[in-house]
Symmetry: C2
Subunit: 636 residues, 2 copies
């Protein structure tokens, strides 16, 4: 790495590259970004290419901030901004932050605030001297999104200090030659659950994911492995997506003293907050003492540095991170690490869906270089193929219709995040097009809130869907038949004894949450149906029921254990998984160009990882492994 | 592990198992041994089976010591001992250690002091109350053996404290379940040199070997890997043999604060001391600053706990170590680790020679259980076969004879330890039987001292050889033609300009030492011969010369670099290696019963480890790997 990363050198380079009439007062790192303070923000904003030129030349992300005292007053500025921005943008709120010279504009149509190629934003800065940042008002109100935004606003001071520290760490010089890259498996090898890895170089250690294991309380990732210890010295954490088997134990790191950044997408940050708080509340409802408190969830959010798909971000002196759409759930990403100066590239696929779904574009598998890949294998077994979507949807229609005709209720256990929204789209379309009679679809648990978060980040959804959400009258998620179960147990009892309907309820693997009440209320009636549409991990109650157990233990009202006999119809329809099936996983690898030299097959039970590993080795001539937990691989 | 490992429990068990007239005053752990103090040592000694019964019942190594005040005075005792022991034993020295109630008897024939099944020793204890320990007077005086023995005598107090501490650590209860065993490669993977591994369980970390890399100054094992850090917390070190590529950096551990035991055989302890001190002296002669000082070599010796081939020794609450003859050099061993209570067994082969040689019995490959083996691969390449010994010896005879007939001198670079003694036996026999004219064989460097150490431990030599050494007139190592080069450069010049002779000189890979002078003195004369009989590692001058480079850089007298042109005949004869060849390595595995499930092929260059790994996998259906340095494997 060249010397231009030191502070004074970079100051010199910028002042020499910027035209002389532009006044640079200070440069400073904030997280991965280089911030340039100027007395002449208006002039900087005028030259549309200048910023890009500087960024390309330094190979860094660059932001301009007005030096203090160069801006219009907030009152004047607000008037000007409202004049510049077209009314259609529907500005909801304006907040000024004098310490960083920034104005936050919340609007229903942020695109109109930004303008073509950022023209409107630049005009704002030229006119008022304030730097404008834009966020979207979610089409469905989301308390999570609100809370996260408010919390971050409130903690801006602390956060700025944090970003400055991180920035200095990232842009230091690496002390040692990058003569190796190592990956340590801390979890999710030959099993599904507790995803966690360490990526290390002689200079840097990055933790990727830190999940729990559904159905196996207490089986956490091997964070005590010497390769991960001490956790306080880890340089960065990267989160591929918000599901708890990847994110549940991130806040624990802060309890153990970790104080560094979490890199992930913005929607993943919000979803992770939602799911982690729910994780705590489920634990305390079940009388377990959760391993951390909501304070650590806030810490995790405070320490998150959002990255967008495709942005190349320095996260350490010798590592650049790029996250790419993984097609699995909202904000889900594959994490590409470029290590050293062209030394080696490692991709963690995260959970992937290679073909597009109703919700998301298919996973990106087009990396400039990727010598090593750590790849999920959930459906890696021979024979793990999924019905095609049209057939799956027809099956779902038929099962619900049959239940409806018997005056029964169909209850579908679903992850709040991902499959629920996919099913909502399926049901909305079927009812709209007459393939199913219109009937109430009740959302129980966090499904509605998770759906609201989806609408706050439409740019992460599939192209056509995005447009529909942004036009209120076409937004499928606010169709009239979707109803929130917000009246507790009493409301559930009413629904259960009422008209035919569909219920989507968490948890997706029947390991707790409102689905337990639904089993009790609907299970004894043979006219009802329990419909599985997602993967049921080994050890979960969902898996037990799916494989034919109809006598299940239930906590009685008195608190004593008793048994429940399930008499309702039990069905499973595949094809709605957020995971690629075996054919999808193979195609994902087959169509990579260039293909990795080495693939570690993880995140699948032993048969799945073994059989996928063999298939990829034999068919694509890639060196493959099916690692165990607690192993360390060295690359190249 | 049962509760009987706590101190008071074990005291109770022993007092209950010993007949009531035997008085046990105290029990104490000293290293892996349980020491029983008694007021009635004579009575204990009378019952020949009692000690064995207690040891078997506790599954521990047990020693009896007289409680203070129960023994005859040293003067009385000495008289009695000399009466009991037959004169043929040739007692050289008696030393009494009142604090531990022990008398050390040095004799030329220790077997006669011990007596049949230990009868004479027991009689001594019965008569005088002192516990007798016997050592052999080396048939050739060895300053190393003397120094080590004197040093340990002098440090007995400190050593006792050390053993007590180690004992308490070993016999504690394991805190965690042994749910995994891991092996981390710190060196010697896809390369020869810097052998070092970590074996870890949830409770314990053991370092196996810690060598340097010949021909690559500064390439030390990856001791900074998190799996090895902090070095101060390592529980035990095991050394397979004394060669510097396995032992050179052990003293460094003590510099870094390690304070625990080194388990190895007694001859390895002495040889390692010799070689490490030489390592320091070579470094300082070459103007490099050695990484540690002789003080740390002494520390290493002080912390060595000797184990004998076949003895099962507790080295941690969850690990038992057994060392077995590896056939490579004096005291060389394969290290067998029994982990947990039958949980898993790992063998580190160390360097092995599977067929017997003139010096040693062949390597042991008969382990009750060995699921995983870490195996050397020095000659693992396809085509790495060695000429059979008879042919090799005939070649050596012929080359020396041809040189002799041209009035030339044959110089053989050889490791001081191992090949030198093998060649001495070959030359002694050839001259005795008339296959070669008798001529002087000069030993330069540490060869004579290393030979003396061999004669101090004849029980580690091949059966027939042992007997010959113990009868002075048949001891091949003291044959009249062997002469020490003890007159420095002047003597070398005289020899070089004198009669035909053979010179064995260190270093074995021509990386320094007196061989450099011999190149200068003998190299320009085409009537002389340079004869390689051992492996020349990549990067060494030996390898360069062997592969045809005859222009070699030399430090001139003035200190300036200049070049030397080698005009003498250059020959290589294989078949004298201390390493099994490819066929030997395969046979070693083939004849194991049961065979390991997994073999890691290490200690060989990349082709060697790859090709051996493939061959073992294909032919014996074993899961094999050719690891890189810095990888961690988990078993089972």
């Amino acid at each position: 790495m060249s010397d231009d990363t030191t502070h004074s050198d970079i100051y010199d380079r910028i002042t020499s590259e910027a035209p002389s009439h532009l006044d640079v007062t200070e440069v400073q790192y904030e997280g991965p970004e280089l911030v340039i303070y100027t007395e002449t923000p208006r002039e900087f904003a005028e030259d549309g290419d200048l910023l890009g030129d500087i960024a390309r030349s330094l190979r860094k992300r660059v932001t301009i901030r007005p030096a203090p005292g160069t801006q219009s007053s907030p009152t004047e500025a607000e008037t000007t901004i409202r004049e510049i921005v077209p009314d259609d943008a529907q500005i909801q709120d304006l907040e000024f932050y004098p310490t960083i010279g920034e104005v936050l504009i919340e609007a229903k149509k942020p695109g109109l605030v930004i303008g073509r190629r950022g023209g409107t934003l630049r005009e704002i800065t030229q006119q008022v001297g304030w730097n404008a940042e834009v966020v979207r008002t979610p089409p469905i109100e989301s308390s999570t999104v609100d809370n996260v935004r408010n919390f971050l606003t409130q903690e801006r001071g602390e956060r700025r200090e944090f970003l400055k520290q991180v920035g200095e760490q990232i842009h230091g010089s690496p002390r040692k030659d990058v003569e190796w890259v190592r990956v340590t498996t801390l979890g999710c090898c030959r099993e599904v659950g507790r995803a966690s890895f360490v990526l290390h170089t002689p200079n840097t250690r990055v933790l990727i994911d830190c999940g729990d294991k559904p159905g196996a309380e207490g089986e956490v990732p091997y964070l005590h492995a010497p390769e991960a210890m001490p956790l306080t010295d880890i340089d960065a954490v990267v989160l591929t997506h918000a599901h708890l088997d990847h994110s549940a134990l991130l806040p624990l790191l802060f309890k153990y003293g970790y104080n560094g950044p979490i890199y992930t997408t913005e929607p993943t940050r919000d979803l992770m907050g939602l799911l982690q708080l729910d994780y705590l509340s489920v634990a305390s409802k079940e009388g377990r003492s959760p391993p951390y408190s909501s304070e650590q969830v806030r810490q995790a959010i405070m320490h998150t540095i959002p990255v967008e798909y495709g942005d190349v971000t320095d996260i350490a002196p010798d590592i650049k991170l790029t996250m790419h759409n993984a097609g699995h759930i909202l904000g889900s990403a594959s994490a590409h690490f470029h290590v050293g100066d062209g030394f080696h590239n490692v991709v963690f696929s995260g959970d992937v869906h290679y073909e597009p779904t109703r919700l998301f574009n298919g996973a990106v598998n087009d990396f400039p270089r990727a010598e090593t890949m750590i790849m999920e294998s959930t459906y890696g077994r021979r024979g793990d193929f999924q019905t095609d979507t049209a057939k799956s949807e027809a099956n779902v229609h038929q099962i619900i219709h049959e239940t409806y005709k018997k005056d029964g209720i169909t209850v579908i256990p679903a992850f709040a995040v991902g499959r629920s929204q996919e099913l909502m789209l399926v049901l909305e379309e079927a009812m709209r097009e007459g393939d199913l009679p219109t009937m109430p679809v009740y959302l129980d648990g966090m499904i509605r809130e998770a759906t609201a978060i989806h609408t706050a980040y439409p740019e992460y959804l599939r192209d056509g869907l995005r447009q529909r959400i942004l036009h209120e009258d076409e937004n499928p998620f606010i169709a009239e038949q979707f109803r929130q179960v917000d009246g507790g147990q009493e409301m559930r009892e009413e629904i259960a004894s009422g008209e035919p309907c569909v219920i989507l309820s968490t948890s997706g693997m029947v390991t707790g949450g409102p689905i337990m009440s639904w089993l009790e209320l609907l299970g004894p009636n043979p006219n009802n149906t329990l419909l599985f549409v997602g993967y049921q991990a080994a050890g979960t109650l969902g898996r037990r029921i799916q494989s034919g157990h109809t006598e299940i233990p239930m906590e009685g009202r008195s608190g004593r254990a008793n048994h429940l006999t399930l008499a309702f119809r039990i069905e499973s329809v595949s094809g709605f998984s957020g995971h690629a099936d075996r054919a999808g996983l193979k195609k994902y690898v087959k169509e990579m160009n260039p293909r990795p030299e080495t693939i570690l097959c993880v995140h699948g039970d032993e048969q799945a990882t073994d059989q996928l590993s063999s298939a990829l080795y034999q068919q694509y001539n890639v060196r493959t492994y099916s690692p165990k937990n607690l192993e360390t691989f060295r690359f190249p």
